[in-house]
């Protein structure tokens, strides 16, 4: 959420999509780390 903190009220739909993409990559790494598929 450092990404969001840097933008605060100026967040756009595109920014939220960027955050979702970052979270997706993070969860994929987490899933791989705990042995999930």
């Amino acid at each position: 959420m450092a990404y969001r903190d840097a933008r605060r009220e100026a967040m756009t739909e595109r920014d939220w999509a960027e955050i979702e993409g970052q979270l997706l990559r993070a969860y994929q790494l987490l899933k791989a780390g705990i042995g999930g598929s």
């Binding site: 993409g21 970052q22 979270l23 997706l24 993070a26 969860y27 790494l29 987490l30 705990i34 999930g36």
Partner: protein, 183 residues
Amino acid sequence: MRRKMVLVSALLAILLIAAFTCWPRRADLRAFDSAGMAWLETAMWRDYYEKRYGALSYHLYELSRTQFGFSPLDSFRVALAAASAAKAFQPTRSRSEAAAALPELAAYYALLRPAAPVAFDTDKLARLELDWWQARREAAGPHDYSRTIAEVAALRARTTRRSQPPASPAPRRWPIATRAGKR
């Protein structure tokens, strides 16, 4: 006779609904779908910053139900505890005030514990969770609070614990309550 049949049917339907709602499921914190988690977490961050606690609670419920596999009743309890923690934290302005969120956070982790691969200390996790929420508020950089987030993730899922924070520009964190509180 017909009235009796209707009553019996209604009673049976109520019992089935109650069983579906309350019967404990075999939940698993590792069973999530990455894309589903990313979508829900993003939605919850937006809910939080826009102070939409009803929507936040709903998304928390959906996450617990669809990603971890809790029963509807347990999902409701998880959502209520996490949303309450976020709501208690958001208006606070100091670490001492923020401690008001601790009981709900501890309750949240106590509800999650049966779905974890190994037992964890709910009070310790609640304190760690609150610590990184507060660290973000105090303008600590991701490099600092991501260590705490990694520790929370390690305690919850027994993932590999990192001595260094992740290199990603965004901090990686484990869901939820997390999906609940910050600034």
